[in-house]
Amino acid sequence: MNFDLSDEQKMLGEQARALLSDLSSFDRLRSLIDSGAEWDEPLWRALAEMGFLGAAIPEEHGGLGLGALDLGVIMDALGAANAAVPFMSSIILGAEAIRLAGSDAQKAAWLPRLASGEAVATFAYAEGPGPVFATGAKMAGGKLNGSKSPVADAGVADVAVVLVAGGSFALVELDQPGVTRNKLDSFDQLRAHYRLDFADAVAEPMPGAGKLDRLIDQAAVQAAFEAAGAAEACLHMARDYAMERQMFGRPLAGYQAIKHKLADVAVATELARSNAYYGGWAAESSPDDLPAAAAAARLSGIKCLELAARENLQVHGGIGYTFEANCHFYYRRERMLAVHLGNRGFWADRLLNAQPGSQGKAA
């Protein structure tokens, strides 16, 4: 057993963190919000230049052909920085859906452009309140009708992989008369969401059937890496503030009420990261174990970031409630990450359903 990242993977993570600390400061995030920008486009270009966007895209399509754990260390770094880029939408979901379910022509058309950052993709699955993976949208005769909402990053995306009736996918270019994009009021101010309406939109069916489970299991693992990275950032932010802030004549960090809170955050974060490691390993090396591994990672990820984001703000006290302090970025993102790709009830069902012989009716 060697249950650790390789030196190359650790180095990749350090490169990603270094790039993000140069380009994606909290001041930068604040100015993006103030300017109403939908994303950090210069950061996206820099990520593309470093090869991060194409990390897991096959070499024949212009990527580096790396694996789930390589992607994981990048997602961990993106989570830590709270980066305002559509990496989950375009790379983890969009590109991977095309790789799993697209035709050769679709892969050839889109994967190189997604790897280079020239094009952005998104994955449109929800249809308002109700089941998060909804299939009301219908494909017929090369036309798509229906609605998807909310859809992350749809304002900057060129193409959407749309979950349609029957559980298969359709590929839809968003810049066309049959598609209406309406921007929604997004709780996470650094992640724009849209309602997409399709009225006889030109769409290509994607031939690969039955790929939804695999796609979202893989994405759940990556979401867990992102959550663990964000939770660790919250933990360090809270620790650093508590070390500096004096209360009753000594550092706030010296009080057990604060120490014990942060110790619990540290434990939850390490458990989530451990489950994410296993999920990444399963995605690469043991596909039969992936459904259970992904669900456990997803549940732990939600749990650790919820705890970390809330306690970070709490440790900061009143200052934490200001726009100038940085706690709010994670506090808002946490709720977004907690419901994207299905909430904890959804993943609890999937975890139990992945246990042999224990399917219940709720499955």
Binding site: D4, R239, G254, H260, L262, A266, L271, L352
Partner: protein
């Protein structure tokens, strides 16, 4: 990253598994069966002897000391395979191999190593730990049991005081003992470590009746107990360093067990809910089971990361306490849920239902897991201080001679 065994590890596991399949079944305890302490002790000793005869005792100890000189990952693999059988291990054998031997190996003289290590591995000597006192548990260095020189030219020490929570002390041959030898020094500095023959006159053990119904813990009274200086471990005044060696061994030895969530899912799946389905259809129950399962897996994989660190020669330090903290709390929650799932029959099972009795025992036992081997609160302090680098506790007793402290 590879979660699977390497080819060498797989071969070692197969060897261990085959040996255990041939030898362990004769020693297993029947679940739910209550046997007297003395019988459990005898069966534990018999299993130690079997292990030694088969070459599976003291896997990480040097061959010259009667061990097998293997690596930590190999010891872990054997422990995983051995853990599949319900064997009479308990504190009875683990205190000897897991706590007494590491401190003897690190701080003991050659004569002490020769005398105790192989004999313990063979099952000829059993051990208890005489550390905690009525007012010195989590604050172990507050201990007051004292040793003074006999003053008769023998070099012997005379010990007086009281210890508590000494598991199996009434049935064991030797104890590891920490006492105060110089009360004029600050509290961590005046301590000295001994091994003591439990048959020495002046040692009296009294079983403590526990909330679980068992009495494996004792209070141990030491009245004018004479210990030869040859039984001192390490230098006079260096008892605290010896204690830290013991506690580190205990911390690394404890941790993630696969315990309880999967059988609980099976139980829920096979129990009718009165609406034509099973308890596993209940969304609230599904949620709790899934959360517990995710935590249990996280503990297991975190443990795997720590083992990888150890195998690379790194010391996980306070990270090891994170697993124990997570595990003990989750174990209590899991067993509480297990009782709740059984409804009224959980608190009053039908005759012949041994499974529920085990769950009840585990729920009660889980309370001590959050206290022993580092209480939750102590572990949280250690994680905050040693992993996160936060300030230590304010200590009124630091650098103050022990004898001037208020009790």
């Amino acid at each position: 990253m590879d979660f699977n065994d390497s080819p060498q590890e797989a071969a070692f596991r197969a060897e261990a598994r085959a040996w255990l399949a041939a030898h362990a079944p004769a020693h297993v305890l029947t679940p739910g069966e209550k046997i007297p302490d003395t019988e459990e002790a005898d069966r534990g000793r018999a299993w130690m002897r079997e292990l030694y005869a088969g070459g599976w005792s003291g896997l990480t100890f040097p061959k010259a000391l009667g061990g097998r000189g293997l690596s930590v990952p190999e010891a872990v693999i054997f422990a995983e395979e051995e853990g599949k059988y319900h064997l009479p291990k308990g504190p009875f054998t683990s205190i000897g191999t897991g706590m007494a031997l590491p401190v003897i190996a690190k701080h003991g003289s050659d004569a002490q190593k020769a005398r105790f290590i192989e004999a313990t591995l063979k099952g000829d000597i059993t051990w208890c730990q005489l550390f905690s006192e009525p007012s010195a548990g989590s604050d172990l260095a507050a201990l007051r049991t004292k040793a003074v020189c006999a003053g008769d030219g023998s070099g012997d020490w005379i010990v007086n005081g009281q210890k508590v929570w000494s598991s199996w002390a009434h049935l064991t041959d030797w104890g590891i003992l920490v006492v105060r030898t110089d009360p004029t020094l600050p509290k961590h500095k005046g301590l000295t470590f001994f091994v003591v023959d439990m048959k020495t006159p002046g040692i009296e053990t009294r079983p403590i009746r526990q909330i679980s119904g068992a009495s494996e813990f004792n209070e141990t009274f030491l009245t004018d107990v004479r210990i030869p200086d040859a039984n001192r471990l390490g230098a006079e005044g260096e008892g605290w360093a010896c204690c830290m060696t013991v506690l580190m061994g205990e911390r690394l030895g404890s941790g993630a067990h696969r315990s309880g969530v999967e059988p609980l899912i099976d139980y829920a799946a096979s129990t009718p809910d009165g609406h034509g389905g099973t308890m596993l259809d209940d969304r609230a129950i599904r949620q709790q089971l899934a959360e517990a399962l995710a935590e249990e897996q996280g503990e297991r994989f975190f443990q795997a990361r720590l083992r990888t660190m150890v195998s690379k020669g790194e010391n996980p330090g306070a990270l090891a306490g994170m697993v124990k903290l997570a595990y003990a709390g989750r174990y209590q929650k899991t067993n509480g849920l297990a009782l709740e799932l059984r409804g009224l029959t959980g608190i009053a099972p039908e005759a012949g239902d041994t499974q529920t009795g085990d769950v009840q025992y585990d729920y009660i036992y889980s309370t001590v897991m959050r206290i022993a081997g580092g209480a939750d609160e102590v572990l949280r302090n250690q994680i905050a201080e040693r992993v996160l680098g936060m300030p230590g506790e304010v200590r009124m007793d630091k650098d103050v001679p022990f004898e001037t402290l208020k009790a």
